[in-house]
Each structure stands twice: as structure tokens, then as C-alpha cells.
Symmetry: D2
Subunit: 344 residues, 4 copies
């Protein structure tokens, strides 16, 4: 069945598998110390315009979020996140398992507004009892957000300035970063992003890799003995080559960006198909996740031929559902969808 369920239903971009095969018999040292990891780091540093960046590869998003957050927070601190942030909702308490509270802030289509952040921090330090409370020790945002929305360069700049004023790091979850960078509606480049935060990651799992996320500390600011903390959390792959070779390939000849642009192209066509069929959008997303509102009977009919995700109920008769494109979405997939939509 045609699937728009998410961006990790198919395997890896074929070039990654090819390179894994080609290099398979080379004897490489373990734990990320091989030449492919090294090359991948070099290429990512160039792509980010961060010659001094410290980079390390991890396997998946929840793992990456919890390791970064727990490594940077002090014992008495928690992490600020939008109420809808992945770390606050769909990570089964991974952050809390490291002993830290997620301090949730109201959101606007998945985004944190800088004035609300500022207000929270100001009030915290004004509270006479704040020493009995969890200190806000870090800001977590996702770009694109869980709703596919994007921060503008101005918004990132404002958030970062506040973080710097209160001396807390800004961490950007880039599980779907490629789709944000290749959106037609963004003024944020990879170099901008690297300049406007303290740590971020370049998502591989959802952007064409079998697995893998590249953690970037853009200002040579990786915490001391980060590798040991990664090991301690059970996240250090013996065959680090699996991640190194994939990211080396993704950052060769712009593959990462091409994959992402393809998914965006497919998403734009997807939007047109919905518009043609008068299916209303739940919100305006400029990336590869599209949220539309279906009547329940439409939804049930469509599910017979197409896979997509339930998001939330609107009312008795309407439901928000999500359609996602990826590197492997084809014109044929879109054609089948268009046809199916006409019949509901």
C-alpha cells in the first residue's frame, strides 16, 4: 500500500547502501574513530561554516535528545521545551529518566515565542522561592517543529539572545533539519543555524539514512568526556563506521540537501493535490509534514488505499491527519493519492 505515514518507512537512500557495501571489508577502528567518521565531520564542518565544530554521531532522536540534554544540564536544572516538544510528549520520559524535569512552555503551532520565554525566565528569577524550584538550564526547540513549522532567522536570533542573556544553552533538535533547510519558505541556512545555537543535530534517520544523527557543537564546545557519557548511556556503536559512512555519503555532493529538496518538492505537489480536492489544512506547514482535516468518513475510505497518520480529533466528525513525504516519495505515489482522494 502507498504510504505517507512518515519519513522512515523505507530504507536508506541507495547511495548509502552502496557505500556501505563498497567499504565493507576494510578493517576500521571502532567507536567512531575511523576515517569515514573523520571525513564526515570535516564535510559537516564545511557545510556549517564552523571550522572548529565538535561532531559526534549517534543513532536516533530520543537517544540524541536525552544525551545532549543530560550532558549539558547541571543537577538542579531542567530543560525548557514547548508543550508539544518531542522531549515533552513522545519520548516515554527519556529526559526525566536522566533526572531532569522538562519545563513546558505554551506553543504557537509548535514554536516557542521569544517574549513568553523572556517572561518565564524573568519571573523565575524574581520568585523569592526559586531556590525551591527547578532552574531553567537550557532551551530546547525543534526545527522543523513537530508541526512542520519553521523559525525565521529573526525568531532564532531573538531566542538565542535571550538564552545568552540568561546564560543557558540553546539546543536545536534537527531530526528533520534537511526539510527545514530546503523549504521554499525559510531564510535560515545551515550556517545561520549553527551560528544561532550552542548545539544542534542533523537528523539522518528521517532524511535518508538507515539510522544516525550528527550532533554538532558549533563552537568547539562539546562537553569534556562527552564520548564517555555517550558510552554510559549505551549509545556508542562498536561499528561506528555505520554512521560515519552514511554521513560521509550524505555530505558528499550535496546528497543530504538533494534528498531533502526532493521531499519538499513532493510536499508542494501534495499540498496542491489537497487544495484541488478542497481538503482544508490544519495549519500552514512549509516542510515535508502536511496536516489536513478530513471528515471521518473520508478518512475511513482513504485508509483503505493509503497509509497516513492520525493526529488528533477536531470534533465528532472531523479529524486532523498527517501526510509525510521523504527521499523515496514518487510521482506515482502522488498520482495514486490524487486518484484516491477523488473517490472519497
Amino acid at each position: 500500500m502507498i504510504s505517507f505515514e512518515n519519513d522512515y518507512t523505507t530504507g536508506a537512500h541507495p547511495k548509502l547502501l552502496e557505500r556501505l557495501s563498497e567499504t565493507n571489508l576494510e578493517a576500521l577502528s571502532g567507536y567512531g574513530s575511523d576515517s569515514y567518521c573523520e571525513n564526515a565531520c570535516k564535510k559537516i564542518r564545511i557545510a556549517c561554516s564552523c571550522p572548529d565544530a565538535d561532531i559526534l554521531f549517534l543513532t536516533g532522536g530520543t537517544q540524541t535528545n536525552s544525551i545532549i540534554i543530560s550532558s549539558l544540564l547541571k543537577e538542579y536544572e531542567g530543560v525548557l521545551s514547548a508543550q508539544t516538544g518531542h522531549v515533552n510528549t513522545h519520548e516515554a520520559g527519556a529526559i526525566e529518566s536522566t533526572g531532569h524535569k522538562v519545563l513546558s512552555l505554551p506553543h504557537m503551532e509548535g514554536k516557542i515565542q521569544s517574549d513568553l520565554l523572556d517572561q518565564y525566565l524573568q519571573q523565575f528569577y524574581q520568585d523569592a522561592n526559586h531556590e525551591h524550584m527547578v532552574f531553567p538550564g537550557m532551551l530546547y526547540i525543534s526545527h522543523p517543529t513537530e508541526y512542520g513549522t519553521l523559525y525565521s532567522k529573526k525568531e532564532l536570533t531573538d531566542l538565542y539572545r535571550i538564552c545568552q542573556y540568561y546564560q543557558i544553552p540553546l539546543f536545536i533538535d534537527g531530526a528533520r533539519l534537511g526539510y527545514g533547510l530546503m523549504s521554499r519558505n525559510t531564510d535560515v541556512t545551515l550556517s545561520d543555524l549553527a551560528a544561532l545555537c550552542d548545539v544542534f543535530y542533523i537528523g539522518g534517520t528521517k532524511v535518508g539514512a538507515l539510522c544516525g544523527e550528527a550532533v554538532v557543537f558549533p563552537k568547539h564546545n562539546m562537553p569534556e568526556h562527552f564520548l564517555t557519557m555517550v558510552k554510559r548511556r549505551g549509545a556508542l556503536l562498536a561499528k561506528g563506521r555505520l554512521l560515519g559512512i552514511q554521513f560521509d555519503t550524505l555530505f558528499t555532493d550535496n546528497l543530504y540537501f538533494e534528498i531533502s529538496r526532493h521531499a519538499i518538492d513532493m510536499a508542494l505537489q501534495l499540498k496542491d493535490i489537497f487544495k484541488e480536492n478542497k481538503i482544508p489544512f490544519y495549519l500552514e506547514s512549509p516542510t515535508n509534514q502536511q496536516f489536513v482535516i478530513l471528515e471521518n468518513n473520508q478518512m475511513e475510505k482513504l485508509q483503505k488505499n493509503i497509509r497516513f497518520s492520525f493526529w488528533e480529533k477536531v470534533d465528532e466528525n472531523h479529524t486532523v491527519v498527517r501526510f509525510v513525504t521523504s527521499w523515496s516519495t514518487t510521482q506515482e505515489d502522488l498520482r495514486v493519492l490524487a486518484q484516491a482522494l477523488m473517490q472519497i
Copy 2:
């Protein structure tokens, strides 16, 4: 350079890569709920003679150890391990990071002796102050051990009987399980092992996979909501297919056992080469890890042509070093080593 450094220097057995490519475009559901994971489980159940076994795939050894141990221990319990156990030495405190103490026992070539275990448990409960102490809540052993040694069926039976008497689970770390099962000097089959413990894992990373360990609860005794605990520890791969396809392939046509037997064959030839060169063994290992004692000047000469691991100093002039074979070790590798040894 020829490498006997460990069993994870090369990539994956080619059949695994082939299958990953062949299945690459199939749209599969995520998080281990795909048909390949399901098939792999079925085949492993048969291989273990455990029709009711609960099985789940994880990525690496330290991750697997810490998730199994923390999921089975009660808050006030610790895990018993040989002092040389991987969880006690080379996991950067992963077990303690989950709040549990590793209670170390003396070892004999990496193995725990049942009478010492019995004595420890007896004394613990006799101690009037034991409510102020960490309760021994689980036994961890590795098979093969960190020294390549193996438990006999009798020894496993004795350990398991004691665990059952004290009502604590027995967990067998099988990071290199294949090499134990295919050793010429074992009376323990995979079915025996599954019958003589409460949980174990079948190591993939060190036995021909890119990554992956198959956790087996042989008696349909996986803890409730184990998947959520895996997610919480950041160990649930979105593209669970990466593990499912590899294990499905490893357990098709006996590939897992063939890979392991090959490495054992190579190890036996390796032993002969050392014997021919009058290199003394540190201990008698019946598996793919061989420990020999080199004079320091021999070691330095050899290092110029061959990669192997430092293990520990014997005295000023002698060192224990480790040579490891794997699925990818070739006759040519052995020939080069034999030649190099003749010249030191």
C-alpha cells in the same frame, strides 16, 4: 594492515547487506513492528526451542545490558557480576547510571563459581544489617566470558539452580554467543542456554551484523511495557527493519552458526600458529578470542605488521595481548600472521 584487533573491525556479512538492499524500497512500519522483525523472532524461537519466547532487537551490548538489568531489578536491588564482567569494567558506569549497584564477585578466568555465588547469597541474608545493604537481585554472566572461556552445561545448571532458589533472574550476556555455541569444547547448545536462564541475548554486532543484539526472554517472561522502557532509554530504532532484516538473514540457513564456526576454525588455526612459534598462552580459550604472552620486544616488532589488542602487563618484560578472529578472517590473514611471527 592485517587486523586481529577484535571482531568488529569489518562491516557485516555480505548476505546481510544484500538483504538490506533488496528490501530497501519496501514501506515498513517502524519501531520493530515490521514483518522482518517478526520473521526473525519466529526463526530465533525455533533455533532456541522456545516457542513462547519474547524477543526484541537492540543496537549494542552496553545498551542491552543496561536496559535488561534496569528493567528487571527492583529499586533496592543490584546485579551480581564477576569482577571482570563487562558491566563492571568497560561500560562507563552504564548500570550505575540507571541507579543500580554492580555487586562484584571473584572470578576464575572470567567465570563465576557456583559455590562462591551460593556463599555470597547465604551470607547476605544472614547478615543482621542486610536491610541497609544492596539486595542481590540478579546474576549477570557472559558466555563466552571476557576471557573467551565457556561455562559447561553443568556449571550453568548449578548457577541457575542457585538463582532459582534465591528467586533472582539469571541473565546471560551473549555478545559473542555464536563463538561459544560453535566452539569445539562446549556441551551447551542454544536450546540448553535458553532453558538455563531467564533472559539472554544473541550478539549480532560481534558476529557479523552491522549492529544489533537479539534479546530473548525464553519463557514468555518479558517485563510488561518493555518496549516503553527501551524507548525511554533512547534505544528504539525508528527503522527497526535495520535489525529485523539482519537477524532474519542471520537465522536463515544457519548463517549465524556458519559465521561463528568459521571464526572458530580460524581461531584453532591461530592457536596452532602460536604453538608452532612457541608463544605461550595466557589461558586456554576455546573461542574466537586468544590471549598470548609476548615479550615486549616481540610485541613491538609484531605491531608493525599486525593489529591486535593490549590486554595487561605480566611483568616488566612481558605483556598479555589478545588476537580475535571473526566472520571476515581469512586464510591469507593467518598466513601473514604466521610469517610475521617467524620474524620476531
Copy 3:
């Protein structure tokens, strides 16, 4: 200066100090195994009409909350609390430090409404992704709440029925329990409370003791090896007598209830004084904490002679402040306050 700042500004009820002195030279066994602890338990069991209750004494509220919650939750569970619950706001992340999330619910004057609880639980289990989320494993409520309000017997019954339906324990934080029980506006007795939850504690620190909270598992349902978990959290006093003697005294001749009734009497007079002075109430509290709204200039004048707590800003010119009575509040204190109020 006269203080209505809180209910722990003075020491202990004099009878407690007397008994500590009288028994001082008796050689008693440690860690809560002495005869005074035993007697206190017996008396509390009678007061609760729970002949089988398991009881243990701890030192303070945050300690008690985090030990009870972490001991009862499974690894993958979090605790449901009103957003205003003490565990969610003023315990510096004590719950999260044990690895568990506080799942916050909307509140109504500090109370959780049963229909909202029901709805939360229902939706959780309906969510297809709930295995990627923190399971609600316990309900935490405080009685009186942080706003001095009380649950009715009907409300407690409704909450408890829902908890039982979803098989999660109901835990009642009774840091100020005495004031709830002695309120003129309650239909909940100590026996009712014990019958309508799985665990609760009888606060001593805020009700006339130097320190101490009596944890009651009313249905002989204390978790196995709870003492070891208490020790592990650093909460087991060597001189357990300090707690046993105080609670033995508090539950002799109804002292606990008399202390509480006195504070309630004082609070009722306090309310009258505010009413006479036309000071508006922020909400209607039937217990020893009273919340009133002062104009900022009134507040500043009053602070010169009287100590009370800032609660929150209403607007530019108005502030919510809290006045608290206790065992040691005197008619003279009230007289001074009345006089001070007339002058602002």
C-alpha cells in the same frame, strides 16, 4: 515581629519537647525499631480505623513525596498531579531526580476534578502512540491543597474509583492534614481518608512537630523492603526515636487534633478580621491558610509590623498574599494584626 508567614516558624508543641526530654536517657534501638515508634504506629492505626496499616516515619514533606512516589511507580510510569501540586512546583525536581515525570493536570483552586482525570486516562489509552509516552502510574493529590482547599468525601470517592478502575494508586499528601480534618467545612474524617486512598501521610512538621511525617499504607500494602528504599534515599534517621516519640505524643489524648483545631479557630478569627477590614479574599479557604488581596501600598505598610507571604501578583496594584495560623498562633497575634490592619 508577629508572624503569619507559615505554620513552621515556631518550634514544636511543648508536650513533644517534654516527652523528648523525659525519654532522653533510655537506650533504644535505632532506625525506627524502638518502642515509641511502635506505640505511635498502634495509635495511628486506631485513629485511622486501619488495624492492618503499615506505617513508617520520615522527616519532611519533599522527602516523603519523592520516596512514596518513586517506590510505587514502575520504571515507565509518571505521577499525575495538579499543575499547582507541590511535587510539580516547589520540590526542586525531587520527583524527576528519581527518574519519573510529573504529568500535570489542570486544577480548580488546587484540586483535581474527577472528570478531567477520567478524560486524561481514557485518552491516554486510546492514543495509538501511548507506548511512546509516559504511562500515568499514580495520582497525587494534597489535602488540604496548596490553596488551603479541601476535597469533599464525594470528590475523594470519585477520584479513588477512577484510580481503582485504571489500577493506579491514589496518594494523598497530608503535609497539613490536621487542618483539613479539623476544618468546620469538611465531611472527611481520618478514617474516610484512609479508606479512600492507597497511601497518605500525616504531616507533623507543619502541625506542631519539630519534623516528621507519618507515612500510612492503610491496607497493609507497604511495598516490600520499603525500609531499604528509605535508607537508599538517605531518609532513615539513626535516632528514629525523634520521630516515634513525637508522633506517639501527637496521637496521645488527641493532641494532633487539638493542635489542628486551635489553628482552625485562629484562622476563623483571622477571616473575620479581614472581613471587618473589607480585605477581599482570593479564594474561600476552609483551613489554616488564608489568601487575601491587598493593594500594594497596603501590603507595604503591613509588612512593617507583620510577617506574611507573597503569593502572586494580581495586577499592577494588587497582590495575593497568604496568612497562616498554627498551633502557636495566639489571640495576641490576632489582636496585633487587627490593629495593624486598621492602620493601613
Copy 4:
């Protein structure tokens, strides 16, 4: 029955109870911010010759150990302790509950030898795999040790020099510090101790207080927001006065030292009584804990009239037992013991 079971069988020194009563009605601010806490700090600073020391009061030993250790260690570090150290044996895993491993070292009558410490640290950093291991991040010693033995000034100096070389803090557990300082066989003063470590605590619970330990950071080196970390661990008493008043009294007119000296005097007489009765000592202890070897039948007879502690079995027929003196041990107690010993 006469008890030499430990140093916390009786209540508090009467002067402490007196002062608690005298100050009982004073309205004081909470959480350790009252004037008695402040005065106690001032007096302790003088007693330690550390005008800049940061001081905070906690309730008991295990609590204090786990808070200090977890607050000072980095995430990837563990604490070095003698195998017999309290943190490694009788704290129910309190250190591990904070996520940190106790790295145990061999001991000599409870003490760590500086050359073994040096060797451990040297080897750790030489190990090529040390990034996969728990970093030694702190040294924990107890003075007196769990065996009543004492470090000499030279020994402390050597240990501290090694710690400083490796840049890890030295923490001294002073649960029975007074008895160490007042021993006839020590050259270590309180000022020496404060100069030769990074943090220590002055035990109250075992030296005449109802409860309480004074944590001293002698070089104005308390970690930032330590109070919040104390709160987070449930260790911040609302009525901090309970600790402040006791320590203020203990450090007025040398009471702490007098209490300790009395117990040492009693211990010396106790030793004489054992010698007169030809009871052999297990080891030579210069403090208030005395370890002797009894024949089992002697032990059983003696237990009928005297309370003391079982320590460990020597062989089938002999047992090591412990006798402890305290502030409340009397000449009459010793007389009864002498008489009982003559009859076994």
C-alpha cells in the same frame, strides 16, 4: 539493659534539649536561614580556622554522603572508597541511586593507603580504554574509619596531595569526627582536617545530637545552588532551627569536644576492662569503637546482660564484636560490663 551497641542509642546531650525548649516560641525563618544556623556557622568557622568556609546542615550520614558525592561528581565520574567504606557497604546503594559508581580500593584496617591510591589513578589514565570506564572523580575517606582507626596528619597530607595532583576533591566523612579529634592517639586537629580536604562533615547524630551533620566546604567552595540540590534530594528541613540550635549549642563552650572526650575516656576504661579480662582485640582502635574477639559461648552469655554489636565471624568458635561508647556512657555502665565479663 546496659547498651554498648552504638553511639546513637540514647537521645541528645541535655544542653541541646534545653536550648530547643528555651528557643521554642521564637518565630524563625525556615530552611536554615535562621539566626541559630547562622551563629552555628560562625562558631564552626572559628573552630575550623576557616573564616571563609561555606557550611550547611543536613540530617543524617547517608543523606550527607550521597548529596555531597552526587553534587561534586561529574556525570561520567565515580567515587573512590575503601572497600569497607560506609558508602560502599551500608548505605543500601544510596550513591548508585544518584547514578554514580563506587570504585572500591583495598583497605588496611579501614584506611586507604596513599601508594595504592596513586597506583590506581596512574593505571587508570594509562589504560588505553579508560574512556570506556568510570572516571575516578573524588576520594571518599572516613575519619575515624568504620573500624575506629585514624589517619595521621602525614597520611592525610599524602592522600590530599595525590588528589590535588589528579584534580579530584577529597571528601572526609566525619560521622564520628569528634571521637577522632579527641583521641589520645592523633596528631590531627579540626583545623588540620579542614586544611587537608575539599569538603568534610562534622557528625552530630553520633556525637550527642538528636540528628544533624554539619557539612563544611572549608575553602568557600560550596557548589553553586547547593541548597537547591539539597532540596531536590528531600533533605532540606523546614524547621532548620532543629539543626541550627543543636550545632550552635555543640559549638558553644567546647561542648562538642567535651562530649567526644568523655566518650574517649570511657573507651579507654573499656579497653582496660577487656585487657584485664584477657579478651583479645581484633585491631587497635584509638577511638570510641572497640572491636574484640569473643568465644561464641562467651558471647552468648554476655548478651544476656549487655547489648553490643555482632561484627563478623572469625571461625567456627570465635566472633568479632563491637562495643561503642558515647556522651551518655557512664561509670556505672562500665562497672556492670566489668562484672558481666568476669562471669563469662
